[in-house]
């Protein structure tokens, strides 16, 4: 618990923690002043409270995500290595790492290197259609997007509060 509290950052989270402490004190006072309330009322109320946003700063909240992430990484490597019986596991893992890195980085670099060819193709396309058609397509996109957004806003305004 001590180490978890060290994980908590200052600022908004600290203010929220202070608020929670005050709430616990208030609950304890209620229990003390009300004989009808059971002695563990404050603890029970605390365990029933929903997850608070500041709690994402606690390391304990990340056990399941860490486990799932490790599981996905292991599964990805295992599925890759499994069909490569002729390679040693270490060599297969190296190939897997290199392939994944190359696939991700080559996409980004290819996008940049293809920009001049795309720009040239854009000029060719622009020259082959009338400006009116281009404006019509652009206007349709803008009006259609605005209509989608406006219909959502209207629905919000109509919704009962």
């Amino acid at each position: 618990m001590e180490s978890e509290e060290h994980m908590i950052e200052t600022g908004a989270a600290a203010a929220e923690i202070e608020l929670e402490r005050k709430l616990e004190l208030l609950l304890d006072e209620m229990v003390a002043s009300s004989p009808a309330a059971p002695p563990d009322f404050a603890a029970r109320a605390a365990t029933r409270r929903p997850f608070a946003a500041w709690e994402v700063r606690l390391a304990s909240a990340w056990k399941v995500p860490a486990l799932a992430g490790a599981g996905l990484l292991s599964a990805s490597a295992a599925v890759f290595v499994a069909p490569l019986g002729q390679l040693a596991p270490q060599a297969a893992l190296t190939v897997w790492g290199n392939l994944v890195t190359a696939a991700l980085s080559s996409s980004a670099s290819a996008a940049f290197s293809a920009a001049p060819a795309l720009a040239a193709a854009g000029e060719v396309l622009r020259g082959s259609v009338t400006p009116a058609l281009g404006l019509l397509v652009l206007g349709s996109g803008a009006i259609f997007g605005a209509a989608t957004f406006a219909s959502l806003r209207r629905r919000t305004a109509r919704a009962p509060h």
Binding site: T47, R48, F51, E55, V56, A61, K63, V64, P65, G69, L72, L73, A75, S76, V79, F80, A82, P83, V95, L99, V100, A103, L104, S106, A110, A114, A115, A117, L118, A119, A120, A121, G122, E123, V124, L125, R126, G127, S128, V129, T130, P131, L133, G134, L136, V137, L138, S140, G141, A142, F144, G145, T148, F149, S151, L152, R153, R155, T156, R158
Partner: protein, 323 residues
């Protein structure tokens, strides 16, 4: 009858978008300059076209000579003849076969570049060959040049898909860690009917497509390309944001019985469960990519809906503060 009106709005808008898109595609033969009409533009053997050849929404078959650049949008290009400029296919493949020759560059955006028969990149293309598709295509391209090219491709591809799922999980969790209140608040307000959210997402993607196409047709290409990239980046950002919110909302429903003290309690665990519930089915062949496309549309719909409702939580917060 508010529910009927909602159903109507949610279906009319994407239907209108599809209609507009198909209208422009239908107008394609009138605005493109291939040598013949019909579903495929053909430059027949022995013929010569001076200048650029473009097509919108249909394939191009170049068996003669084109003294210029060939550009196909939402269509594929087959080259068995000679193109003195470059060949670009947006949303389609480029296939060079036999004695086909391209003096400039060959680029397939959202498709692949293939060489058939005697054709090859070094023999048939004077410039560079590039294909920009999904990350999976890049992985397959890298795989073909690796020492494991002969191995079971489906398993290797599955491995990459699992890795991509891990990246999606990391991105969603990073958003939750950096903006816990915003993401959690959005997950509270975003849920709605899946059909409605999917329709909003479809409408948004279609308007993005029309906007990008319009920008490229109206503004000088370099600026138009930058602006179209901004539109694409915005859609991608909406997908990442919406998927985080959707995963959290889904996970909260799945783990609603988890109590404080349990490792499954809390938003990080809920987001993980939600993303796995949405992402794992996408690993299945055939059905998986279709499912993921639908999830992506719903996610974009969630992001747009949250954006439209963004004043709602503030109002609620100020009401609470006033109380």
């Amino acid at each position: 009858m508010p529910s009927r009106r909602r159903w109507g709005n949610s279906t009319i808008l994407p239907a209108l978008g599809l209609f507009l898109t198909s209208l422009f595609l239908g107008a394609a033969p009138a605005i493109s300059t291939p040598a013949s009409a019909g579903p495929t533009g053909v430059v027949p053997p022995g013929s010569r076209v001076e200048g650029d050849v473009t097509s919108l929404g249909r394939d191009l078959d170049v068996s003669g000579t084109v003294a210029g650049t060939v550009v196909a949008t939402w269509g594929s290009v087959r080259v068995g003849g000679h193109v003195t400029g470059s060949v670009v296919a947006v949303g389609g493949d480029v296939t060079i076969f036999g004695e086909g020759r391209v003096d400039g560059d060959v680029l397939a955006l959202g498709g692949e570049v293939r060489f058939v028969g005697a054709a090859s990149a070094s023999r048939s293309v004077g410039g560079t060959v590039r294909s920009l598709g999904a990350l999976e295509s890049a992985f397959l391209a890298e795989l073909r040049t690796s020492p494991v090219a002969g191995a079971a491709v489906s398993l290797l591809l599955l491995s990459f898909r699992i890795f991509l799922l891990l990246l999606w999980l990391a991105a969603a969790l990073l958003l939750l860690r950096l903006q816990p209140r915003t993401v959690a608040g959005a997950a509270d307000t975003a849920p709605g009917r899946v059909v409605t959210l999917g329709a909003i997402g479809t409408s948004t993607v279609l308007s993005g497509l029309l906007l990008s196409a319009g920008l490229l047709l109206v503004i000088p290409a370099r600026i138009g390309l930058v602006l179209a990239s901004v539109v694409a980046a915005a859609l991608y950002g909406a997908k990442i944001w919406g998927l985080s919110v959707l995963s959290l909302a889904t996970g909260r429903r799945l783990l609603r019985s988890a109590r404080r003290g349990s490792p499954l309690f809390g938003d990080p665990a809920a987001m993980t469960a939600g993303l796995l519930a949405l992402g794992l089915p996408s690993l299945f062949p055939v059905f998986g990519p279709l499912f993921w496309a639908l999830v992506s549309l719903v996610a974009i719909g969630v992001a747009v809906r949250v954006l439209a409702l963004r004043e709602e939580p503030q109002t609620a917060a100020s009401a609470r503060a006033a109380a």
